[in-house]
Symmetry: C2
């Protein structure tokens, strides 16, 4: 019941690109002789894999990107030339596109158990000379990836640049990372999960029951019958379609024409606009997909289980050497963002190299196939791949590239407080930057030496900027806490000019003290003399220096002075290791009467006395 591999536009009559079972012109196949043992027992006597490739493998054989398709997709991820049919991810794969086939060698295999060239239930069992049908064994995501590994070996590639995919393709990417962590440098799972929710399984259960209880199913041996379980398969597909969209995107598609069904040929109820759409989608699906494959693949999805808790995922990935880019979509309710966040938290907890973005969209689970959010997920994918090859645009770590960093841009003047904070960080320390913005501070730190760093940020454009700089950054709201992180996991945590925007100040600072050996906190000092004067003499809510917003639209919802902060530290029982006060207007440090003379304060603290 998992995502169709067809970008689905609003003009739904013309979607699905007309590739209804049409032969794939550029497909290659390789057959591996067996017996090939399977994860849950049994074996297959042989396995054929259909695949397509794009671009050229370079001499170092290190520019290969492996793309895993979703439930109903195939190897045809993109058009090979102008005469070719468009592929299911044409918007993202091709010359000059996000996954740039001028740079990368792209491989996309049809999944084991599928029905588009690779061995599946509709294949002929060489031992019997008949199609497998329901004698096709239960296969798992492990089996699928194991077969893909054989193909990788066959292609003579030792290590992939990256494995990517959305939905069930994302599950395969996760499975690759878990099973063959040394065979890929990068992992880009999108709109996926380490195990499907009970709700997700429930939809698949209904879909499989619709097929199995169709009288034309004939226990799976329908291939020689006058008709197969078309109705059951269409029903399963209809349910699937509902889960691939979001409530909002369905409203946008169907509400205006609610009671005006499209004139589409289908033997299903066409009473409502959405009804005619589903009927059409269901009917056309049975033309190109095999019901036994649907059962086989959706069962593999339901059985896929890398762990149901962050603890299990942490154990699984604790030594994972890959670099990760995890992407979810806010309106995806089939693989909701929380499930991606569990994976990210497990990776973060064990200091793995991971970036994560939860892209804000109405497009639901299908978002990863659609153009609407390509500027986010496509751009981040391109940045991430470039960084993996060492060609990232922002390469943290200095060199000529660093000179072009935003930090020296005229609109973004050199910041004294960054220098002070950077000086406070010991060489080689691991650093967590909370509210890292576009990553300027971490990029600058990278220019000073080797540091394990991680940024946390709430704005997706800033996250994209960080990924573009090659930084690890995680999309999260600080007010939700740092639950994923272990005690004293980072040598140093930076909270730069963000304290006054936080709702739960005490909770966040306590979490920082738990997770960081040292915490560097900078904040605007409300005790600055200009602010005091303004309130005292003018009777107005003060603004001056770094506090330049109006009272009614300032993002600063907390008001504190240096004295307040020190009392707060005392109350929490923390040690103040260092403090520095700045007059950012003059660009100098302040040593005399800092609570009056400084507009910005920077403290280094740690838990305990």
């Amino acid at each position: 019941m998992i995502t169709e591999n067809n970008a689905d536009d609003n003009n739904f009559e013309s979607s699905d690109t007309g590739r209804s079972g049409a032969p794939l012109k550029h497909v290659q196949t390789i057959t591996f002789e067996g017996p090939i043992k399977l994860d849950r027992g049994g074996s297959l006597p042989e396995v054929t894999v259909a695949y397509e490739t794009y671009g050229r493998l370079n001499e170092a054989r290190d520019n290969a990107v492996w793309i895993c398709h979703a439930l109903s997709g195939d190897s045809h991820v993109a058009a090979h030339d102008d005469d070719d049919d468009p592929g299911w991810w044409d918007i993202a794969v091709g010359p000059g596109k996000s996954i740039d086939t001028d740079k990368y060698f792209v491989i996309c295999p049809n999944i084991l158990g599928g029905c588009r060239g690779s061995t599946g239930p509709d294949s002929v069992d060489p031992q019997t000379g008949e199609r497998y049908g329901q004698h096709f064994p239960t296969i798992t995501m492990n089996d699928m990836v194991d077969v893909q590994l054989r193909l990788l070996d066959h292609l003579g590639i030792d290590k992939l640049l990256a494995v990517t995919g959305g939905s069930v393709g994302g599950q395969q990417a996760l499975c690759w990372a878990a099973r063959y962590p040394n065979r890929t440098r990068g992992v880009i799972p999108m709109a996926t999960s380490s195990r499907l929710s009970s709700q997700g399984i429930a939809f698949n259960v209904v879909g499989r029951n619709a097929i199995r209880r169709d009288p034309d199913f004939h226990d799976g041996q329908y291939y020689d019958q006058p008709s197969g379980p078309q109705v059951g398969l269409a029903l399963a597909r209809m349910i699937g379609h509902i889960t691939y969209l979001s409530r909002e995107s369905m409203h946008q598609k169907f509400n205006a024409t609610r009671n005006k069904p499209r004139n589409l040929e289908a033997e299903f109820e066409g009473q409502f606009s959405v009804g005619s759409y589903l009927g059409f989608k269901g009917a056309e699906f049975v033309e190109r997909f095999d019901a036994n494959s649907y059962i086989t693949l959706s069962m593999a999805v339901d059985l896929f289980d890398l762990g149901g808790s962050i603890e299990e995922l942490t154990e699984l990935f604790k030594d994972n050497p890959c670099k990760w880019l995890v992407i979810s979509f806010t309106s995806d309710w089939l693989f909701p963002p929380r499930e991606s966040q569990d994976i990210v938290e497990a990776l973060v907890r064990t200091d793995r190299a991971v970036s994560y973005c939860n892209i804000d969209t109405d497009c639901g689970h299908d978002s990863f196939l659609l153009a609407a959010d390509l500027d986010m997920y496509g751009k981040m994918t391109a940045s991430f791949l470039a960084e993996l090859t060492g060609q990232g645009s922002g390469r943290a770590g200095g060199g000529p590239g660093a000179q072009q960093s935003n930090i020296f841009h005229p609109d973004h003047p050199h910041r004294l407080d960054y220098d002070v904070i950077l000086d406070m960080i010991e060489p080689g320390a691991s650093v967590l930057d909370l509210g890292c913005g576009n990553g300027d501070l971490l990029a600058e730190l990278g220019g000073r030496g080797e540091h394990r760093t991680l940024g946390v940020e709430i704005h997706q454009q800033d996250i994209a900027a960080c990924v573009d700089k090659g930084l690890d950054v995680v999309h999260a709201d600080l007010n939700d806490g740092l639950g994923a992180l272990g005690d004293k996991q980072f040598d140093c945590i930076v909270l730069s000019r963000a304290l006054m925007e936080i709702q739960d100040v005490k909770g966040v600072v306590e979490e920082m003290l738990r997770v960081g050996r040292k915490c560097i906190i900078s904040f605007p000092n409300f005790g600055y003399y200009k602010l005091r004067d303004m309130l005292y003499h003018e009777g107005k809510a003060p603004k001056a220096g770094v506090l330049h917003h109006k009272w009614y639209d300032t993002p600063n919802i907390r008001v504190l002075t240096i004295k307040d902060f020190e009392e707060f530290c005392d109350e929490l029982g923390v040690t103040i290791h260092q403090s520095l006060a700045l007059d950012t207007e003059k660009g100098v440090t302040v040593s005399h009467a800092p609570n009056s003379m400084a507009d910005l304060a920077i403290y280094v603290i740690s838990s305990g006395k």
Copy 2:
């Protein structure tokens, strides 16, 4: 595909209360001779209504509460005695319960088109002597309610105290209010909508197709066949079940035993815990429900359409004389809260008497049937019914009851600022209180004379307290604006001590100026001398008087002085009609140097100069 009428606990094997088609002992029936014309053309030669009653109709015949059941329910809303089977809403209906049958005469009819005693597709058509089957005409919610009206007349009741119901029952309640507004004093729709979302219709479409395409459907004439469309009906029911729960509640129910299916007899896939549950639910449902009824009723749900926009709903309800209590549930994704809010906004826009609460729960659409949130929806229903009878506990409007109001409670001392604000409100003025809390100010206002009032509040416990006081109150976040309200709709809008908690100050104040002829705004004055002194002399974030919180946990995220507010008014181009400054510590008004000497300020402003 709409809600089952069976409270569904976690021990799912024992749910559905074993009433599988068992005869209802206390059911009464009445048959109306026809022809009974139908909304979408055609007619029925006669209609029988099965119903049950509880409690006694009083002499004034004005204590009747009409309960409409949901899609698959029946007239058996509660047990009649200790020997009786429990009803589908036993937790809410009975002696001493929320809908107290010691006080109220409760009537619950089986729906037209159903299969539990009222005329439906499985009834015999007197004109042919055969069951209707698919010859049963298309019926609408209007037809259902029209038949219920005949029953009401038959019972000799001129005006109901209230009509209530959840899900499809809530749609019937809405239909009652729209169609026969003078036949009920109160309306309590729960977990419902003025029209189903495209997503909701989509699920129903799949369910109907599963039934209609079942080979045993025989075009609906399956009654004399060896078997009917059990598989299709079971599939429809399975889909329905998924939509009645929430992702979170499914996780709670099934995740721990994910791969351990219950040992339940059903001819459906029992691979997963959730699969065995759905299979069981589907299989038992076909024992007690008729597939043609399912099609008939779900189609009526999909056709139900009181309007797809707030504008249409406003037009529909603009003269509605009923008092409304609208209830939604946060995790209900089948009838999401936004759809209830549209109804509420339409009612508010035309000054109808409405209260609304969006109850925070994980239990999904089924919440209205479950005990988990009964302390909210049940309690509010009880308060609302009591208020309708004039026996409300808090009766705004003075008298001896008012003396017991919280306002005079020792823990809640008399508030000078309330007195000042109340004095600023002209007699008879309509008043909107934004952030009304537990309703003290509005209750006090009610004690001073007749006022049309409405409260807006974000905390559900406060909303329950307001409903208990008989006040109209709407659950909303001020930061979302007052979009529902018309220009100059209220004579007076009060924002008492809430300005400093608002994120979008300018947006909210501009909206107040648009909607209110006058706006009364009170706020703590940051210019108060004790606060100034504290910052200036002590160098600490000030707290004193009404601003007594610590800097890091204050709900006050905005800091302003009297001077700031006056400049803000000037910037917005508003007229200040009146201003009053208070020293709440001394309990006096301040006339000299208010920006220094007052800790609280109250302004009366309006738009324009």
